[in-house]
């Protein structure tokens, strides 16, 4: 999904919003060759053959609008929607494994999604785009698209997820911090394909939260924060993941907040300090959704709210 008002930003990355760019909006994609892959091997073969000319078509909810605006003009599309082997969401070796064509709605409707430990994924799965788009859009596709205002990328950072990427040397596991390279750029190189996202299964002293401010359902975040924390037996914070959306070239980790939190007992003062760290780390672009100052303020507030909700999910009130 792509908001038309966001197009000029994407056309000139880093430049301020330029509404004159709207005149160039085009709604019919450039011509391309369509290849339907029946297996991961076949998809990989096509991508190796066509390299930088080709793109993977999964849910298509970002790629197709981008093609319609001619922001993307792949000569070859490799459709992986027919590969049933990539349509899964399952726990496997201590991680939740999400296959490349598993839809956002599959996560949203999973039987276990309301368990407190999955709070972060639950929250995200309900606010990505809109309910119809979520029936097509995929988690892995969102990670690969790596929109600066993406939701799954931000959640993946907070949860320290990994992505399985198939390349010439075989399939490698890429930690999310290395996977997200820059706006719309990931560690998936020419001729490669991301096959699976992996989120570690949180223990029962772990919970998270996703807090998003959007102008309307389906819009990209004005600001959003993903948080996931775990407590040790004494009630101190053992691990912390804090990340922001729409606060930089792609989802950003708030290292300072994580360092502040780890080893400490939860308190209102600690949450405020973490929020202030998020505000300092946030480097948003001012646009129609809000000014830089407003978005930085939101980053701090949303991290505090996310931490508070995570703690509430663990039965701790601060």
């Amino acid at each position: 999904m792509m908001c038309p008002s966001a197009v000029p930003i994407r056309k000139r990355r880093g430049a301020p919003l330029d509404l004159t760019g709207r005149k160039e909006v085009c709604v019919i994609p450039a011509a391309f060759d369509y290849l339907r892959a029946r297996s991961p091997d076949e998809a990989f073969g096509y991508l190796q053959q066509h390299g930088s000319e080709s793109r993977v078509l999964a849910g298509g909810q970002s790629l197709i609008p981008a093609m319609r605006f001619r922001l993307a003009r792949p000569a070859v599309l490799v459709d992986i929607n027919g590969i049933r082997d990539l349509d899964y969401v399952r726990v496997d070796n201590g991680a939740l494994a999400i296959g490349a064509i598993a839809r956002d709605s599959t996560v949203e409707r999973a039987a276990w999604i309301n368990e407190p430990r999955w709070g972060l994924l639950r929250d995200v799965s309900r606010v990505v785009a809109d309910p119809v788009v979520r029936q097509s859009g995929t988690v892995v596709g969102s990670l690969c698209h790596n929109d600066p205002a993406g939701d799954w990328t931000t959640a993946a950072l907070a949860a320290r997820a990994e992505v399985a990427v198939r390349g010439r040397a075989g399939t490698r596991t890429v930690p999310i911090d290395q996977f997200l390279v820059d706006s719309f750029t990931t560690a998936v190189s020419e001729g490669e394909i991301a096959l699976e996202a992996r989120f570690g299964v949180p223990d029962d002293r772990t919970a998270g939260s996703y807090q998003k401010i959007e102008r309307k359902v389906g819009d990209f975040a004005t600001a959003a924060a993903a948080v996931q924390i775990s407590l040790d037996a004494t009630g101190s914070i053992r691990t912390a993941g804090v990340a922001l959306s729409a606060a930089g070239p792609c989802a950003v980790r708030v290292d300072e907040a994580e360092r502040l939190l780890i080893g400490q007992k939860p308190s209102a003062e600690l949450l405020r300090a973490a929020g202030e760290a998020a505000m300092r780390r946030s480097a948003p672009q001012g646009d129609l959704r809000g000014s830089v100052q407003y978005k930085k303020h939101l980053a701090g507030v949303l991290v505090m709210r996310g931490l508070r909700q995570s703690l509430e999910r663990l039965g701790v009130r601060v």
Binding site: M1, M2, P4, A31, I64, R68, A129, P131, V132
Partner: protein, 158 residues
């Protein structure tokens, strides 16, 4: 590329360019103009159709070639002959439309919603239709219509 798509139970076999969007295929190649095109970029929901019986898709953001070998339900396929589908009857009874432009998408998104959840709460209906925009400010009656359709489908044992 030659594709075969079962639309509303009728098989259509056509040559299409890969870049043809499903919405345009339905309207221009198959003559099924009940599927409307609004924003053309997956924001408004008026082009929603149902893929393979349960999945609502925005047909402006899916290529027709992706529907090859699949089943599509459009608004033209809802009624059974002269008998309106419970959703159509409910939209009529509850005045769930004014200009009607968003209505096919509303009904098809609701169709998929009721497949997933036969008796949604008012909040669940509002959430489920959050990707469908109505510019005549008719959400109140749209929600009532979906509630009526859910009730009548349950009563009919469907």
């Amino acid at each position: 590329m030659r594709i075969t798509v079962a639309i509303n139970g009728t098989t259509y076999e056509k040559d299409v360019e890969p870049r043809t969007l499903l919405a345009y295929f339905l309207r221009e190649a198959c003559g099924l103009t009940g599927t409307h095109i609004g924003c053309d970029t997956s924001s408004c929901g008026c082009c929603v159709v149902v893929l393979d019986g349960t999945r609502a898709v925005k047909s402006c953001s899916m290529f027709a070639v992706q529907a090859d070998g699949h089943q599509i339900l459009t608004v033209e396929g809802l009624a059974n002959g002269a008998a309106l589908h419970p959703l159509q009857q409910a939209f009529w009874d509850q005045h769930g439309l004014q200009c009607g432009y968003c209505t096919p998408g509303m009904m098809l998104a609701s169709f998929a919603l009721l497949q997933q959840n036969a008796s949604p709460s008012e909040a669940e209906i509002r959430e489920g239709l959050a990707g469908n925009l109505c510019r005549c400010t008719g959400y109140q009656n749209i929600v009532k219509a979906v509630q009526q359709a859910a009730d009548s489908q349950i009563r009919a044992g469907r």
